[in-house]
Structures are given as structure tokens and as C-alpha cells.
Symmetry: C2
Subunit: 424 residues, 2 copies
Amino acid sequence: MTVDNSYGMTYARHLDDVDNLRGFRQKFLVEDPELIYVDGNSLGRLPRATRELIRGVVEHQWGERLIRSWNEGWFELPERVGAKLSKLIGAQEDEVIMADSTSVNLFKLALAALRFQSGRTKIITDDLNFPSDLYILQSVVELAGAACQLVVVPSQDGIHGDISGLKLAVDDKTALLTLSHTAFKSGYTYDMVAVTELAHRAGALMLWDTSHSVGAMPIDLGQSAVDMAIGCSYKYLNGGPGAPAFLYVRRDLQDQIGNPISGWMGQKNPFDFDLTYQPTTGLRRFLSGTPPILSLAASEIGIDMLLEAGVDNIRAKSIQQSEYFIKMWENNLSHLDFILKSPRDPSRRGSHVTLGHPEGWRINRALIEDKKVIPDFRRPDNIRLGFAPLYNSFADVYEVSESLLEVVEKGLYEKYLEELPEVT
Amino acid sequence: MTVDNSYGMTYARHLDDVDNLRGFRQKFLVEDPELIYVDGNSLGRLPRATRELIRGVVEHQWGERLIRSWNEGWFELPERVGAKLSKLIGAQEDEVIMADSTSVNLFKLALAALRFQSGRTKIITDDLNFPSDLYILQSVVELAGAACQLVVVPSQDGIHGDISGLKLAVDDKTALLTLSHTAFKSGYTYDMVAVTELAHRAGALMLWDTSHSVGAMPIDLGQSAVDMAIGCSYKYLNGGPGAPAFLYVRRDLQDQIGNPISGWMGQKNPFDFDLTYQPTTGLRRFLSGTPPILSLAASEIGIDMLLEAGVDNIRAKSIQQSEYFIKMWENNLSHLDFILKSPRDPSRRGSHVTLGHPEGWRINRALIEDKKVIPDFRRPDNIRLGFAPLYNSFADVYEVSESLLEVVEKGLYEKYLEELPEVT
């Protein structure tokens, strides 16, 4: 077969040479330089500086300062890290706070939205949304009463969102439209301005789950007039496994809605130990219990690095990488039953590209075991390749494509079990 | 004045010499040996082994193994640590799981209890309960519908629980009785068997918040036929700041109640990515979002140490320490306006002792600044002294008492501001 060599390793190396972000890779722990990690959209790499920071939090802040550390920074940590994160998503500093998990934050905000405007009983979402978000929304509408319902609008084709379908679904009974900004499977990215406007035209609130966008592309929640947003910090933000999530509520809405999980961290004067809950002003009322300090502290370094790199630079490189990969797919992989399951238009695509293949599961295994390439598999047949511009090189992109080619051409996948193991 | 010297430092040193737990202190990082830390009931000390463990979790599990660590232990971590913890509280291994914060867990279980038996619309608690628990319960009854209500039974005297009062309040409309097993302020400890039985006699479920008991005294949830329990791991369990909490549900109840925060970690086959929530069997359904792995991992060492020490030994030393302190109070402090605000009966008292004093706030400041003693202050006038048998010596107890005496006799507190600062 013929391989188009104009997109070969020489080309990749050239792109790496002129890459203005190339210096960032060395800021991460890369213990095995031969490992090609394209799963930063699931768990970002460890920044070297995070190692030192965590050592200090454990040994100095906890070990030596003990309880005093609560007054020496821990209490303000959810707001302080949130304020930094706000700069990545076009929010004001007091509009973002770190709290709980993405699921718990969605629960709090979606329930608050449903209770905000009486007479509005529907939550609208789509089937591209992360299943975990759907699970939470199912519970939220059930809790909110028999009259409430969740409407899941089908996507166009499992890949692209259907804005016309959403427009039809959002009506004057809709309390909330909530979507993943970038879909976890296909990587489809909604037009945030247009969709938010669509919700507002019907008088509904708009909540974006930015988990698969934040740190990978510019987001402007303020400019887009977004009401609420959530997102996780362990993907492109490199905050570490299960690092606390964040939530955003636009400033003028903050004091109008309540947190259903009304814990002591959101209490007006928590150390007065009043027996009656009285929420503090601002976003802090959306805190619930005591935050996990080690995991929360770890989330700061990755945000600093993204701010230093500049999210426009990240996005430019991300598009260049995914376009490069898709070009390789067109030239070398598309005739081998690999199907592009991400949008072709880069402006509608996040930083990961998904390929479908009838032997997807076994190919994924072979990539990991035989080629030292770590992608992510999503049933039934999706190989998800996440390009994290801070540490993935263009050579990585080339190697991923070549590895896919070799695994199929040489039949390296054939030795693995055909059956997908039962996951429980 | 006369000080009773039979309880002096010589006596304390003797008790330390014959203490069968004395070897445990060296397993903690004690950077400043002169600091007397009696706030382990708020934030436990750092076990030395936790430093090494966290380094491994960060550098090896996250840094090197990356996403693979989810299949190499992270997914099972909430259950694995929970199974260890179960041995401290008389539960079966599959009855305890680590999850979220104490507040979020209370929210989940209290709401589940309220939805469990139709026609039962009340939650009963008392005013000794941690205010944070009351805040959550207020929200839970509000969410559960207009017919639901929270009844807060007054304590006898702000120190002791009123079991007769609870008995009167719990009726055939009661869904749940929930109390702090050991009260955060006075340290009063309820008779778990008797109170649980009281709830059951009325057909209500019983939920204990064990935050101020767990790791400080034997708890037998199974023997006491308790339905649900929650607790935190950063106090006597030494799990680190904001370490994830735990929840217990007795086995036969687990599949009968639902988690209102129905996240992907509790889904039957989470990697099937079904669009409809279907809870898995057992306690895992009470997980919601992705757990904060660094903080969760840190919680294991302290539990191991308590299991090694034996919770009966811990309790024996704890009682010996608080009895010793109270004897010192009687002899040397009671005539200086220090009031005992904890139960006098050790069987009804946790591992902390609270003294009230009109100058409590300033005395507390002087203890910290002038005497290197770190207690905890609880408005309006409570100095809370938590004795953690794993690392507090009898000499510590003696020094605390002597420091209180000196601060008052020498007027060391007078230089501090009389006004309590406004805490927000």
C-alpha cells in the first residue's frame, strides 16, 4: 500500500521544532519517554511542580501547621483556585469555585435551577451528554416532583448535536437546558453563544458541562451570557485523579438560588454554630462539606501552566494536531475500516478524535500492549485519542497513526480475546 | 494557692511509662516536640507512613501508571478502605464505603430514609447534633415535600442528651432518628443500643453520625442493629484535611433504598455508558462522582494504625486521660471560673473535654501563643481539649492543665483582644 509521506515523521518533527508550546512537556513527569499517552482527556499527566506542592501540603501544612492551616489558606482554597480557573473560561473571579465532584455540582445546580422559576418543570438535554450527567438529571427531576420531566433530545447521528431539535424541545415550561460543551464520545463541540441564546429566548437557564473543553479551548462564559457551568479538573487541567470539580454561577444569579446540599462550608458564619442554616452571600454558598485538601491543592499547578501557555495557543496546537491526525486517517487508515466518529469541522471539535473500528476493542488492547500507546476505549467500538497540547508532540500524533496502521496491517490485535470483558 | 501534687508530672510520667500505646507517638510526624496538640478531634496528626504512601500515589500511581491505575486499585479504593474501617465500628466489610463528605453522605442517606417508608414524614434530631448536620437535614425535609418536617429535640442542659425527650418525639410518623453519637461540643456520648432500640420501637430508621466517636471508642453498629451511619476520617482516624467521609448501611437495607445523587460510580455497568441510571447492588450505589484519590488514599494509614492499636486499648487510655484531666480541673481550675461542660460520667463522654470560662476566647489565644498548646475554641466560651490516645501522652494532659492554670493565674490572656473576631 502507499503511505503519504509528506505527513511523515520529518513533517511531525518540523512541527515540533516550530511549536511555541514545546517547552511545556518537560514540566511534566515523563518517566517512560517511549510511552505515548493520548488519554489526557481522561486523566491528565502529573506536573513536576505538583509533586513538590503536595509534599509541602502534606509535610508542612498538615504535618507541622496542623489545624492552623485552615486559617492559613485552606478555607479560601476553593475560592482562590476557582479565581484562577475563572481566567480560563471567561468568568469573573468570584463566579467560579472548586467543590465536590462534577456529579454533585450538577445535582446542586440543576436542582436549584428547577426550583428557581415556578411553573417551569422541564430539563432538556441530549444523548451526547455524559451518561453520568443524565443519571444525575434523572434523579433531580424525580426529586423535584411528579410534574417534572427530563427530555433527552437525540443527536443528529451520534456525533453531531442537533440544534434544531433542541430549539423545538426548549419551551416556556423549560427550567434548564444543560449540555456537555464538548461531547465525551465524539468530541463534538456546541456553539456556546448560539445555544445559550436559544435557551434564553425561551426564558430557560443554560448550564454547560465543560469537562471535555476546559483547558483545551477558549471558553467565554461571560460573553456567552451563560447562567451556570460545571467541569472537572483532572482532564486537560492536569489536577490529578478525582481532583475536585468546579462550578460557575453568573454573579447576579448567585444570591437568587439556593444550594440543596446546604452544608456548613456555605453557612454565613460557620463558626457561630447557629442551629439554622443561613447561606452566605456569593458563590461560597454552593460549598457543602469539608473539601479534600490534598486533592484540591493538587489542582492548582495545572491551571497555572495553562494560563502561562495561553489557551489560544493551546487551541491552535490542538486543532493542528487533530487535523494532522485526521489527514493521516484519511490517507492511511480510512480504507482499513477505521471510521471517523468525530466532527470533520475543527471548529466543532474538541481536542480528542474518535475512530470506530469493528475490531476496536482488540486494536485498543494491541495499542497498549504492543505499541505502548495509551488511548481510551469507549464501547462498543470507539478508540478515543485525546491530544493534550501541553505535553503531546506532533511526533506523538504521527506515532499513534502509524501504530494503528501497524496493528491492523500486521494483525497484532488478533491474539487478544474478542469478547469485551464484563465491566461492573 | 495549693496544687494537689499527687497528680503532678511525676504521676503523668509514670502513666506514660506503663502505657501500652506509648510506641505509637513515634509513628506520627512530630516536628516540634514542645507543641502540645490537643485538637486531634478536629484534625488528626500526620502519620509518617502517610508521607510515603502519598508520594507513591502521586509519583508512581498517577505520574507513571497514569490512567491504568484506575484498573490497578483506584476503582476499588472506596470499598477497600471502607472494609478496613468496618472493623473499627462493628460492621461487615461490605457495609462501609468511603464517599464524598460527611455532609453529602448525610444528605444522601437522610433523603433516602425519608423516601423509604411512605406516610412517615418526620426526621427527629437534637440540638447537640453538629450544626452542619442540622443544615443538611433542613434542606432534606424541604426537598422531600411540604408535609415533611424536622424536629430538633432540646438537650437536657446543653451538655447531656435527653433520651426521654427523644422518646416522646419519635412516633409513627417518624422516618428517621439521627444524632451525633458523640456531641461535637460537650462530648456527650449516647447509648447507641438504647437509642437505636427507641427508634426501632416506633418503626423509624436510625442514623448515627459517628464523626466524634470513630477511632476513639468501640462502636458496634451490627450489635446495636443500626440502620445507617456516617462519619469523617480526618479526626481520630488521622486521614488528613478533608479526607473523604464514610457511610454505612446495614446489608439488608442496601438494595432497598436509592441514592438521590445517582452518579456514574454507582451505576451497574458504568463502562457500558447506558443512558439510563441503574444502580449496582450493594453499597457501591451510594457512590456518586469520581472520588478524590489523593485524599482518599491518605485515609488508609490512620485506620491501619488504629486497628493495630486496638480500639479497646484506645478507649481505656482515652478515659484515663480525660479522667486525669478532670481531676486536675477539680483540684486546680474549678475555682478559677472554669466550668466543666462535658459529662462527668466517662461512659457517657467521648475523647474530648470541654471547659467553659468567661474569658474562654482570650485564654484560648494565650494557650496557643504563649504556651504552645493547641486546643479548639467553640463559641461562645468553650475550650475544647481533644485527647488522641495514639499520640497524646499523659504528660501532655498535665501540661494542658498547668498551662490553663498559668494563663489565668498570671493573667497571660489579658493582653489579647476581648472581642471575638467576626468570622464569615
